[in-house]
Every structure is written in structure tokens, then in C-alpha cells.
Symmetry: C2
Subunit: 194 residues, 2 copies
DNA sequence: AAATAAAACGGAGAGTGTCTCCGTAAAAAT
DNA sequence: ATTTTTACGGAGACACTCTCCGTTTTATTT
């Protein structure tokens, strides 16, 4: 038997399909970053040189496209978690990651609305990305709890929620400052009762 | 001279105009609360029994309508601030108001996106409402600072930003719990350095 | 109580975005 | 080379936004 283990023979995926998919992602990322999440998808399709049908076949909903676009960004966040955890003391790692998170999200206004459904809503979108992010902050918080510098009953998701909030609002002139201050407040507020 | 002091005579406002305005607000509030901020405005007009033109004449943009709808809610928040400040110790007043805020906003998913532009964006919408809210939290924080239970360099707007975040995310099954925990964290994190 | 003027109405319709359907074209398998 | 499977793409049905302007209603004047 020469075919791979995975069930039915299933032929080789078409080359143009893959090309189109990549091209759409590329254009979409650019457009999202430039003009926010409400751009016209038909426009994106046009710019990518494909028909609307093609776009919608690859990404049935706007959210699906958003998630696909930001999958790599999410991956980077997850990776940063590992690096910080290795090279910094627990609380500092947590702080650094939180700041990075805000930075990342704020830099691209885009994701915020979508992120809401991630941390909160019953929506099943962002399943995998969500898991990665949740995993990262969970790990960081766990470590900080073990070190005794964070209250043991802290729910990591609470922090995440607050961060999403900060990011959502990240636009005013001093958002960077504000974000820094808020992260500080959150960390201080998460220490064990004195 | 029989005319009022305010400049040009200006005739009495038309009765139907006022009636329509009220009716639109009523329907819009209901619709927003039921289905979020993205409902069709033409539908609202239809339900209110007026033409689209009428709706848009009264409220040129979606945001204008949103603000008008929630002006009263905002007023209630401002009022609550006064009551809490009179009847509770500083920090408790602050906590109570923060929880009320989350509650209010979360109960109507609606405002959240609009609120973002309030706390953050350069948008000039929500001018008056924004001022009221900012005034309220400013007063509460000031009092708590004077009492020595809150760090003097705390920016009230930072708290507000975090609250908006929490509200944005308020949807999961345990949002009420989460909100409570977060408010607690924020307050703890805002105490003077030990 | 008309007549007049001002203000508001309302809905048709132009412009734009979403998303589907299906005849056509391209790629893989044979 | 032929067949079969997969994907393409854009026309078009539907929805929403917002404006324009002829008509109607209301307030004022006589």
C-alpha cells in the first residue's frame, strides 16, 4: 500500500487553490492592517485577483479570514511565552508577555473585536488560536503562582480579559503609557494578600 | 419686546417632530438591546412607522442614535456616583460604582464598541456622555486618593479603560464573577505601595 | 377661519457590500 | 489523450445605507 495512512485515498490538492489561498491571506492582512476589520471582502478578492466565490470558498466568514490572517501572529505570542519563561523570573516574564500582548494587538486594531469572541463569546471561532493564547497565559500565571508572587486563586483568563480591554481601547495618544500602567496595576492587584 | 432673549424669534418646534423623535428612540433602544448595535436602521425606521429620511434627519449617524439612546443610562451612572459618594466609604463607593458600570454596559452589549471611541478614539462623538462618565470616576478616585487608600498617581481613565475591556468581554457564562474578580484586582492594584 | 410660510415627512432609488450559484476552466488521475 | 474531480469567477439576488425632493403637516399671519 502506497497511500498515506489517513483514510480515503484523496487526491493531491490543487496547486492553484493553494496559491490563491496564500494570495488572499497576504492581501487581506495588508488591508486589515491598513483599514481595520470592516473592509469590503469583495475588494480584497478583487485585489487578490480572484473572484468573490473563491474568497468565500476558502474563508466562509469574515471571522474565518481574520483568524487565518492572525494565526501566525498568535503563534509568535505563544513562542514569546516560552522564551520569556526560560529567560526571566516569573513575574517579569508575565509582565513582559502582557505588554507584548497589548502591543501586538494594538498595533493592529483589527483583531480586537474578533478577540472578544475568543475570550468571551460562545462562538466557536478562534478555537485553536484561543487555545494557544490561553495556554500561554496559563503557563505564565502558574509559574508565578508557584513562586509565591501571585495569588493562587487568580484566574488567568481574567487577566486576559482585562488585556483585551486595554487593547480595545488602545488608540488615544498615550495608549502605550496607559497600557504599561494598567499592566502594572493588574500585576500588583494579583499579588497574594499582604 | 415680547420674544424670548435667545436670538432670532424661531417658531415653536413642530409636534410631530418631537413625537417621531421619541418614538424612534424607543424602538431603537429596544432593538439595540435585543440584537446589538448592527441592526438595520431602515428597519428601525419602519418599525417606528417613519420613513428612513426622518430617522436620518433626527440622527445623522448610527453613533448619534446610540448616544441619544444611552444618554439616560449614562445619566443614571452619573447619578449613582453621587449617591455612592454620599453613603459609602471611598473605596467601597469606587468598587460599587465600577461594578455597576460593568453591569450596565454588559447588560446591553451594545454600547461597548461605541464606548471604545469614548475612552480612546479621537472621535468627537459622545462628547457630553463621555464627560459625565469621566467626571464620575474622577470624583470617586479623587476621594479615594484623599482618604489615602488609593495611589495618588492613579489615572482614573486607566480604570475606565479596563472596565470597558471587561464589559466588552462580558458574555461568557461567568462574566459576572469575572467582572467582580477583576474589579477587585484593579482596586487592590491601585492601593499605595506597601 | 382662511391663507401663507416654514418645517418635517417619507419613500423611491442610487450606491455599496455580502454571499451564492452554476457554467466554465484547470488540474490530477488513468 | 481522456476522464474525472476540483476549483474558479463573476453575474446576480438580496440587504443596508443614506440622500433627494415632491408632498404633507404644522405653526403663524391676516
Amino acid at each position: 500500500m502506497k497511500k498515506k495512512s489517513t483514510r480515503p485515498p484523496s487526491r493531491k490538492p490543487r496547486a492553484d487553490a493553494l496559491r490563491n489561498r496564500e494570495r488572499i491571506l497576504e492581501i487581506a492582512k495588508e488591508a486589515f492592517t491598513r483599514s481595520g476589520a470592516n473592509i469590503s471582502l469583495d475588494d480584497v478578492a478583487k485585489q487578490a485577483g480572484v473572484g468573490a466565490g473563491t474568497l468565500y470558498r476558502h474563508f466562509p466568514t469574515r471571522d474565518a479570514l481574520l483568524e487565518a490572517v492572525y494565526r501566525t501572529e498568535v503563534a509568535k505570542l505563544a513562542e514569546a511565552e516560552r522564551k520569556f519563561a526560560e529567560t526571566m523570573p516569573p513575574v517579569e516574564a508575565l509582565r513582559a508577555w502582557m505588554l507584548l500582548f497589548v502591543d501586538y494587538i494594538a498595533a493592529k486594531q483589527i483583531i480586537a473585536p474578533a478577540l472578544n469572541t475568543l475570550v468571551g463569546g460562545p462562538s466557536k471561532l478562534f478555537e485553536s488560536s484561543g487555545a494557544q493564547i490561553k495556554g500561554a497565559i496559563h503557563a505564565l500565571v502558574s509559574r508565578a503562582i508557584k513562586s509565591g508572587e501571585i495569588r493562587p486563586d487568580l484566574d488567568p483568563l481574567d487577566l486576559l480579559r482585562a488585556l483585551v480591554g486595554v487593547s480595545n481601547v488602545a488608540s488615544g495618544p498615550d495608549w502605550a503609557q496607559s497600557a504599561r500602567r494598567l499592566v502594572q496595576i493588574l500585576i500588583l492587584g494579583s499579588r497574594p494578600a499582604s
